[in-house]
């Protein structure tokens, strides 16, 4: 690793001023599972800003009315080991328990996954489906950005100089709702998605119709995608295979993938449809069991 300075700010203001002063030469350290691996590959950083000493970053709270708030430094396993969180957000739990090994989940954070902004990130589609919002702090104070608008390209996002994500917020799950996330990888565990998909559905009281739905897919475009039209299509419709297939076809239509070592354009477009259908069906099943 090249040499770098290490800063441990204890307040948001202190962190923001270090980030603003150093611009692109400063990077955030939370769980370190991406940034330390990148530093080992000779990425150059002037100052690494460890945000774990800032109280707000380690906060994890869930209330059935207010929803879930996950601080930027909360590791995945701390979130999913909290039983009421795992029960209320099964789609997010699907993703958090799939990211890397237990060693990685002990350190990795969903905020880090978001800010690394990989097109293939596993937690981002899950967050998008749930309507999560990132709370950003910076030199001009606080702002909120929906996770579905956060990533702007591979490894790129809306964060401006001096800004960082302090926490991610999830609305409380609705009655008769269910969430589901899945990915396709060529082995059983420990791999990067060829494609992935997440769905969150709210059913009517009789559990026969969709009240609303959110579908998101990943690794099939430069950023994870919210398939808004799928939500509009499903809202108010009776649950049946045909309408779910039509929603999945909309995801296929919006997929704009590349061919790389993990998969081809054709395979990824196909997977966007298959995984979307399975994600919606999985979410419906959980909503029915709720």
């Amino acid at each position: 690793m090249y040499d770098f300075e290490y800063a441990t700010p204890t307040t948001v203001d202190e962190a923001v001023s270090i980030l603003a002063e150093n611009g692109e030469d400063a990077r955030i350290l939370a769980g370190g599972t991406d940034i330390i691996a990148q530093l080992k590959e000779n990425r150059r950083v002037k100052v690494l800003v460890d945000v774990k000493k800032i109280q707000e970053t380690t906060a994890l709270s869930y209330h059935s009315a207010a929803g879930l708030s996950v601080g930027a430094a909360v590791p995945c396993c701390e979130a999913y080991e909290t039983e009421e969180i795992a029960a209320a957000y099964p789609g997010l739990t699907d993703a958090m328990t799939l990211i890397g090994s237990i060693q990685i989940q002990s350190r990795a954070t969903i905020t880090g996954n978001l800010c690394n902004s990989s097109p293939a990130a596993d937690s981002i589609p899950a967050m998008i489906a749930l309507g999560a919002v990132a709370k950003i702090v910076g030199p001009n104070g606080e702002r909120e950005v929906a996770v579905d608008s956060f990533c702007t390209g591979p490894g790129q996002n809306v964060l401006e100089n001096g800004e960082f994500v302090l926490s991610v917020h999830f609305p409380a799950p609705a009655a008769n709702s269910g969430g589901f996330f899945l990915r396709f990888i060529p082995r059983n565990e420990m791999d990067i998605a060829v494609a992935n998909a997440a769905a969150y559905v709210v059913l009517n009281d009789a559990k026969t119709h969709f009240e609303s739905a959110r579908l998101a897919v990943g690794a099939v475009a430069p950023t994870p995608l919210l398939i808004e039209e799928a939500g509009s299509l499903l809202a108010g419709k009776e649950i049946d295979d045909d309408i779910i297939q039509q929603a999945a076809d909309l995801a296929k239509g919006q997929a704009n993938p590349i061919t790389d070592m993990r998969g081809t354009v054709e395979q990824r477009i196909h997977l966007a449809g298959v995984l979307s259908k399975r994600a919606i069906n999985g979410a419906v099943q959980r909503a029915k069991e709720s």
């Binding site: 040499d3 770098f4 370190g32 530093l39 890397g100 060693q103 002990s106 350190r107 420990m190």
Partner: protein, 159 residues
Amino acid sequence: MARKTHVTTTINGEETQFLCEPRNTLLEVLRDDLDLTGSKEGCGNGNCGACSVILNGRVVDSCLVLAVETEGADVQTIEGVATPEGLHPLQQKFLEHAALQCGICTPGFIVAAKALLDREPNPSEERIRLWLAGNLCRCTGYDKIIRAVMDAAETMETA
């Protein structure tokens, strides 16, 4: 060059102090400065688990932890698994089941398995296989390792 930082941490129950640069990983400090060479470097990027240690009660890859991050932390390494009275049941069962050949992955497997059994004394075979998915072995194969962990869990339960 960035100034060296003085870090105070607890390693295997003993307060330990060291000086390190920000770019030194916990694994480097353990092996090169503290002579705790039981933790191994395999891939160096968080895939193989050979450098597994327990940091504040959670199993992590010490190659992806900066040593400066461990100020005030509690670290358990493979060196702290056995006691003066003898081997830990996991170590004993790894021997009995011949769950190692070259031995490079073994400390990581034992530390990761201990982290599991500390939390869940009676895990299913599937749970053990999933938990140990972040530890790679390139010679023994996994069945003997899984059987050793299951046997150790049983021994510890009846002890």
